[in-house]
Amino acid sequence: MEEITLLFVSIFGAISTFFVSQKFDISSVFTSAFLSFLVAIACHFLSGTLSESLEKNIPIVFIGASFVGMTSPKIISQMRWIALAGLFFGFIYMNASHYFSSHGGGLGTTAALSVIVSLGLIDMFHALHKIKNKTS
């Protein structure tokens, strides 16, 4: 159950940062930093109602996923692909090496990997779409 919650947080972190930044024309740096700050503070005040693991992991997953949401719309323009990259982030985060968990930048590297994997998927999706259109 906690893993599913973290996957939802991951998707939410990515799409909320992307949406707020684009919709209100706010810099992606401010959006990511401020939303992460708010989520971390909220988790701190909800410390009695959340499990210890969720209280620790929700802010970390959110800030990491918010890096995914900092992707420029020139690179990924559709929200569904940002959501997918956010989901990838959650999967990689939960399975990433503990060796790098204490290194600064580990979350960002995971986010970059998620975005680049999604770019590969988008390319394949477009290629398949073209083939389908040619054959029909």
């Binding site: 990515a14 810099s27 740096v29 401010f30 990511s32 930093a33 401020f34 939303l35 992460s36 700050f37 708010l38 989520v39 971390a40 503070i41 701190h44 802010p59 970390i60 959110f62 800030i63 990491g64 890096f67 995914v68 949401g69 900092m70 992707t71 420029s72 020139k74 690179i75 990259a85 999967f91 990689i92 399975n95 990433a96 090496s97 503990h98 060796y99 790098f100 204490s102 290194h103 600064g104 930048g105 580990g106 979350l107 960002g108 590297t109 995971t110 986010a111 970059a112 990997l113 998620s114 975005v115 680049i116 994997v117 999604s118 770019l119 590969g120 998927l121 988008i122 390319d123 394949m124």
Partner: protein
């Protein structure tokens, strides 16, 4: 031509560290079939993604190398985040969020769009400052890692632009390099 080589080198450096990151995860997950399948799938599409980025030619000439204040932004971001998070005990997400938000207010307060680069540099430094005290155990090492991230940040200004997580990758490169120097080079020098 020289610029193209520099940016090509930085691109390869970033790819190298990302590949190391996923490779370590891959080897740790060798016993788990589902994880192995997921990682194989990720690596296949990661390769496609890198080809996409190369096709887009995301690196090009720029005179950003003259903007040395971005080094300072990275160091300030790293030291402030580390200090607030660990020394004041507020936690690394709160401190990175706070430092990043304050840094992002600079271009708004100064009404200068060019200062957005500085806020990006501060946030990039904040990721360095999110390191555990087991990795960077004093403010001097944090400053060194911040300086390194500043150098990579400035040199990679036009590499992987618009890719979410780029600044985190820069921070990871700088922290891993600082750790390498601390663990091997300094140990070698002191053993002489």
């Amino acid at each position: 031509m020289k610029h193209k080589k520099v940016y090509g080198g930085i691109f390869l450096l970033m790819v190298f560290f990302q590949v190391i990151f996923i490779a370590v995860t891959f080897f740790e997950g060798l016993k788990n079939v589902a994880l192995l399948l997921f990682l194989s799938f990720s690596i296949a599409f990661l390769t496609l993604g890198y080809f996409h980025l190369l096709r887009e030619k995301s690196f090009h000439k720029n005179n950003i190398l003259s903007k040395y204040y971005l080094f300072l932004g990275n160091i300030i971001g790293a030291v402030a985040t580390y200090y607030i998070g660990l020394e004041l005990g507020l936690g690394k997400v709160v401190s990175a969020g706070l430092v990043g938000s304050l840094g992002a207010l600079i271009p708004i307060l100064t009404h200068n769009k060019r200062h957005e680069e500085l806020s990006g540099a501060i946030y990039c430094g904040a990721f360095v400052g999110m390191s555990s005290s087991l990795i960077l155990d004093n403010l001097f090492l944090v400053s060194v890692a911040g300086l390194l991230s500043g150098i990579v940040y400035v040199a990679s200004k036009n590499v992987l632009n618009g890719i979410g997580g780029k600044m985190g990758t820069i921070a990871f490169i700088s922290v891993a390099t600082t750790m390498f120097f601390k663990s091997y080079i300094l140990a070698f020098i002191t053993s002489l």
